[in-house]
Each structure stands twice: as structure tokens, then as C-alpha cells.
């Protein structure tokens, strides 16, 4: 078993980077994910079908296409990339932040789907009752809706995290495969498979990848069960 943890510094960096990228991608997707899910679940507006389609695009497009579109939009010369770099100093291209963006975008439809389903399951009568007790719509959302959709939020977040841990195509297209900067676990494994004698390294990272993914799944199960028990819904 010791050989499993006997990683080179570069491999450790890939592990750490992957966890960092996946965590940031998940956390940054949550607020827009909730907002879009709310819009899709409850909004009545022109272009709702279009919005739904756009949100689901990363799920159906080849990841390389998504990565290339990100490169066009958020790259150094892309309109959004140039604007953000100039005004906020946020640079995506060939940085780990770009990897997080690519992972977040790829996991976004999964997250929105899970949250949207849980919002649609909320009994709106509860919200009406909270309104008659004096809570304005914002308070109703914070104290009634949000706690009631917590299991869906957790499920959506874990899906996004898991997707980010495994994301390869869009990331490598958008931010390439730079050790210590954008080389996540899948990119590192890919690199190992491209060099002679890299099998052992690839296997080590593969096993680590499995362990992390399993841990995330188990954590979400435990969390969801605890929340469910606390809520005690009939």
C-alpha cells in the first residue's frame, strides 16, 4: 500500500490542484446555479426554453467544443477575458482559475437539474404561510425555501464536484496541461499514458482518483441523510 502514497511532488501537486479546482468550481457555481434553477422552476418569461437549452449545452456538446468556446470568450483576446483582465485583474487563460471555470461550466447543467427538481418539490403553501406571518419574499426564501431544498443543493454540489474531478476535454482545450498550474488529475494521468513506463504513475493516480470520488459520494450520502433526518418530513 505504501507505493500508493509514494507520489512525486508533481503528482501531489496534481492531486492538490484537482481538489482545489473542483472545490472552487463547485462553490462558485452554487449562487448562479440556485438563481438559474429558481428561474427555470418558477419563472414565467419569454425565452425560458432557450435559457434551459443554453444551460444544458455543456452536457450535449463535445467537451472540446465547450473548451474552445471558453477559449474564444474568456481567452486573453476574447471579449469577456479581456474585459475581466482589464477591470478586475482576473485572468483565466492558462491559469488554474481557467481550469475551475471550465469544470464549473461542465458541471453546471448537472447542478441546475438537481436544484431545480428540489425547488419544484417545495410545497409553495409553506411559503404562503410564512408570508402571512410577516416574512417578506427574501426572508421566505432564506428561512423556508432554502432549508427545504437543502438535500437538492447538496446533491447538486456533489455532482458538480464529481464532474469537476473528472473533467478533461474542456479543461485541456481551454487552459492546456501545465504541471503545477492547470495539470489536474485526469490531465496528469493522460500525460503518464503518453510516455513509456508511465503505467505505474497512471495507476497510482487512477486509484487516488477513485478514492476521492468515492469519499465525495459517501460524504454526500451522510450529509443528505443527516439533513433528511433533521427535517423529518412525513
Amino acid at each position: 500500500m505504501t507505493w500508493l502514497l509514494d507520489l512525486t511532488p508533481d503528482e501531489w501537486n496534481a492531486v492538490r490542484l484537482s481538489i482545489k479546482v473542483a472545490t472552487v468550481a463547485m462553490l462558485a457555481s452554487l449562487p448562479p446555479g440556485i438563481a438559474i434553477a429558481l428561474l427555470l422552476a418558477r419563472g414565467k418569461f419569454w425565452g425560458k426554453t432557450l435559457l434551459n437549452g443554453v444551460v444544458h449545452l455543456p452536457l450535449v456538446l463535445p467537451p472540446v467544443v465547450t473548451g474552445y468556446l471558453l477559449l474564444l470568450t474568456f481567452g486573453k483576446r476574447g471579449p469577456a477575458g479581456a474585459f475581466l483582465a482589464e477591470h478586475f485583474g482576473i485572468v483565466f487563460s492558462f491559469r488554474w482559475t481557467g481550469a475551475a471555470l471550465a469544470c464549473g461550466v461542465m458541471g453546471f447543467p448537472l447542478m441546475v437539474r438537481a436544484i431545480r427538481l428540489s425547488i419544484e418539490a417545495v410545497d409553495r403553501k409553506m411559503e404562503a404561510a410564512a408570508g402571512t406571518l410577516g416574512a417578506n419574499p427574501l426572508w421566505v426564501f432564506g428561512t423556508i425555501t432554502l432549508p427545504l431544498i437543502l438535500p437538492g443543493l447538496i446533491a447538486g454540489a456533489i455532482l458538480s464536484f464529481a464532474k469537476a474531478m473528472g473533467e478533461f476535454g474542456a479543461t485541456i482545450t481551454f487552459v492546456s496541461n501545465i504541471p503545477n498550474e492547470t495539470q489536474t488529475l485526469p490531465s496528469a494521468i493522460y500525460t503518464f499514458t503518453q510516455v513509456p513506463g508511465g503505467d505505474e504513475g497512471a495507476l497510482r493516480l487512477t486509484l487516488i482518483s477513485i478514492v476521492i470520488s468515492m469519499a465525495a459520494l459517501v460524504a454526500s450520502e451522510v450529509l443528505a441523510r443527516r439533513v433528511g433526518r433533521r427535517m423529518d418530513i412525513e
Binding site: K125, M126, A128, A129, A130, G131, T132, L133, G134, A135, N136, P137, W139, V140, T143, I144, P147, L148, R230, M231, D232, I233, E234
Partner: protein
């Protein structure tokens, strides 16, 4: 406190066109299902926006479609108890109770947690989760939650309709206490004559979205012709009585009323306590002379003041018993055989056993006299 409703509203084929006002302690909106009661109460609460009209509570205009006024629900300070309780499942009973308090301006908070908990007898439930409560307990907590938001008006939308008889009997006394021991005016939606007769000071009767009668309960509940068909058997007179004494030997209670003494099954109430007693029209027999050799204990002398045709072979006879109105439903055949006519002197005969818990306030267990 008065409130005024004047609403025109249309949902599909169903039109509501209702105008009424009330200054009563507990005003019942009464009518068969589909008569628009719940829609009206939801409009008062701000959950439904009426097409046109005006709603005023205690001088404050909540809705005036002509002037473009629509106060949102969270700014109305009108409490609502729903038929399905709607306790928040992710909060304990205590958190549910405290919910409305946060949003009430400190200067307008009149409801006191301890007093409300005591009033509704929900002390033992405070640390529980809503899922662990019985239907009756949920409803009591829901009432407490609405009260603790210190509302100006309390709306109750058929709070007993989804409970079985035993649970109804458990919750009813608490609603009576609420009516008698707090100052907050109540609007109570119901389709049950028994509940309305027992609880309401005023009644607004609705049918197909229109007001068919409104006024003090005693006057409205006698209009048997206006009652929904399935409730007509429950209709009758409502008498204000008080406990005179208990007959411990036979397990009865003697009530005093304008019509005379009325013997009912033993009530758990102290002498002097007021009791609203409903006498169903179908439980009243009429005798033209004082009957003898009869098991019925209540024989009330009076004068016939009204005779109106009822359903099928029946007629409804109104008897003025020394100022108290008693209604009797008899067959047309009996009327002709007895030659009943307006102004005739008769005796209204009521069996003691026809008074059940639904007819007389059974009283709270804690009020058992010592």
C-alpha cells in the same frame, strides 16, 4: 374592530360577488364547499388578488382595486390558520411558534409566548418536530404560531375539517377559549352548522359566490331554507343558556334559558358558566297539550310564530318560547292532524339524549368544577 369586504372576482366559470361587513367577535363564513368561502378568506390574507373590489380591516384599506391599492401579505398583519396546519417541517414546534415574532415591529407585539402556550395547552409539545404531532396538536400549534405574530385579525380556514371527531372535540374548546379570552377578532370559515352554532357570534352565509344572509348567529342559523342540503338536518335554534346546577344522581346538567330549564347530559362546567346550546329542528317534537307519560324531559311551552315548507313531506315550525326561538321539523301530515297554525299554543318537546357534545360546549377538561 370592523371589517368590510366588497369583492368581484372570477375564476373560470365561477364568479364571486360578495359584500359584507362585520364587527363580530367571531364571524363565521358559512356555506357548502365551492361557495367561495376559502377564496374570500385568501383574499383577506393577501394570498389571492381579487379582480375588483375593496377590503378594509379596522379602518385600514388593504385592497382597493379602483385606487390601485394592494397591500402584500407580509405587510397585512393578518394571521391565518390553514386547514392543513402548514407547520414548517424543518423547524421545531418552538421555532414554528416564534417565526412570526421576528417580523412584528416591537411596538406592535402584544402576544406573549407563555400566555399563548398556556392558552392552547401546547407546553409539552415545544421541543417536538411537527412530523411527531397528531392532527389536533398540529392545529393547536398552528393557531399559536398565527397568534404569536400579534395579528390584527385572525383567519381560520376550516381548521377542524381534516380532523376526526375525537380530534375536533379536542381542538374546539381551545378555539372557544381563544374567542372568549383574547381580544383578537376572528373570521372562521366552516361548512358545519355544529361548529358555526357553537363558535360564531355572527354568520355570513354564502352560496355560489354570493352572500345569502348575514347577521347574528341566532338569527341566521334558523334560516333552515338557506342551509346547504347535506347540513339541513343539523340546522336548528341556538339558545344562550347558563349552567344552573348539576344533577349528580342522574348525571345531568340543568341549563337555564329564557324558554325554561333544559336538561342535558352532564357537562364539565361550573354553575353560572355560559353555554350556547343548539337544538336541532329534527330533534324537536310538538305537542298541543302538556304531555304526560312521556320519557322526554324537556317540555317548553310556546307560541307558533312561523310555519314554512321544508324538504319533501316536512314543514318547519318556529315556536317562540318566552322570547327564545325554537325550531321544529315535523311532517305535513302531523301539522294537519294537530291543526297547527300561527299563534297556536304548543309545547316543544326535546329529549335530553339528543344533546350531544356537538350541541353544547363540552368544556375544557381543566374546567371541571370542584
Amino acid at each position: 374592530m370592523t371589517f368590510l369586504i366588497d369583492i368581484g372576482h372570477r375564476v373560470g366559470d365561477f364568479a364571486i360577488d360578495a359584500r359584507f361587513e362585520s364587527a363580530g367577535r367571531l364571524t363565521a363564513l358559512f356555506g357548502p364547499s365551492g361557495s367561495g368561502k376559502t377564496t374570500l378568506i385568501n383574499m383577506i390574507a393577501g394570498l389571492i388578488r381579487p379582480d375588483k373590489g375593496r377590503i378594509e380591516v379596522d379602518g385600514r384599506v388593504l385592497v382597493d382595486t379602483g385606487a390601485g391599492i394592494f397591500v402584500p401579505r407580509h405587510k397585512r398583519r393578518i394571521g391565518m390558520v390553514f386547514q392543513d396546519a402548514r407547520l414548517f417541517p424543518h423547524m421545531s414546534v418552538t421555532s414554528n411558534l416564534r417565526y412570526g415574532r421576528w417580523f412584528t415591529p416591537a411596538a406592535e407585539r402584544y402576544a406573549d409566548m407563555d400566555a399563548v402556550v398556556e392558552l392552547l395547552g401546547i407546553g409539552p409539545l415545544l421541543n417536538r418536530r411537527p412530523a411527531k404531532l397528531s392532527g389536533g396538536e398540529k392545529q393547536r400549534v398552528a393557531i399559536g404560531r398565527a397568534l404569536l405574530a400579534s395579528p390584527r385579525l385572525l383567519l381560520m380556514d376550516e381548521p377542524l375539517a381534516s380532523l376526526d371527531e375525537a380530534r375536533k372535540a379536542e381542538v374546539l374548546p381551545y378555539i372557544e377559549r381563544l374567542r372568549d379570552e383574547t381580544k383578537i377578532p376572528i373570521v372562521y370559515v366552516s361548512h358545519s352548522v355544529a361548529e358555526v352554532a357553537r363558535l360564531a357570534s355572527d354568520v355570513v352565509m354564502l352560496a355560489q359566490g354570493k352572500v345569502t344572509a348575514s347577521g347574528p348567529t341566532e338569527a341566521v342559523i334558523q334560516r333552515l331554507d338557506l342551509l346547504p342540503a347535506e347540513e339541513r338536518g343539523e340546522g336548528g335554534a341556538v339558545l344562550d343558556t347558563k349552567v344552573l346546577r348539576h344533577d349528580e344522581v342522574f348525571g345531568m346538567t340543568v341549563l337555564g334559558s329564557a324558554a325554561g330549564e333544559i336538561r342535558v347530559p352532564r357537562l364539565a362546567m361550573k354553575p353560572g358558566a355560559p353555554v350556547r346550546t343548539r337544538i336541532r329542528a329534527r330533534d324537536v317534537m310538538i305537542a298541543t297539550e302538556h304531555p304526560t307519560g312521556l320519557s322526554a324531559l324537556n317540555i317548553l311551552p310556546g307560541t307558533i310564530v312561523a310555519i314554512s315548507p321544508g324538504d319533501g313531506p316536512t314543514v318547519e315550525v318556529g315556536i317562540d318560547c318566552n322570547g327564545a326561538m325554537v325550531l321544529a321539523r315535523i311532517t305535513e301530515q302531523s301539522r294537519q292532524v294537530l291543526k297547527l297554525r300561527l299563534g297556536g299554543k304548543v309545547f316543544a318537546v326535546v329529549k335530553t339524549v339528543s344533546f350531544d357534545r356537538a350541541n353544547t360546549g363540552a368544556g375544557l377538561p381543566l374546567e371541571v368544577d370542584g
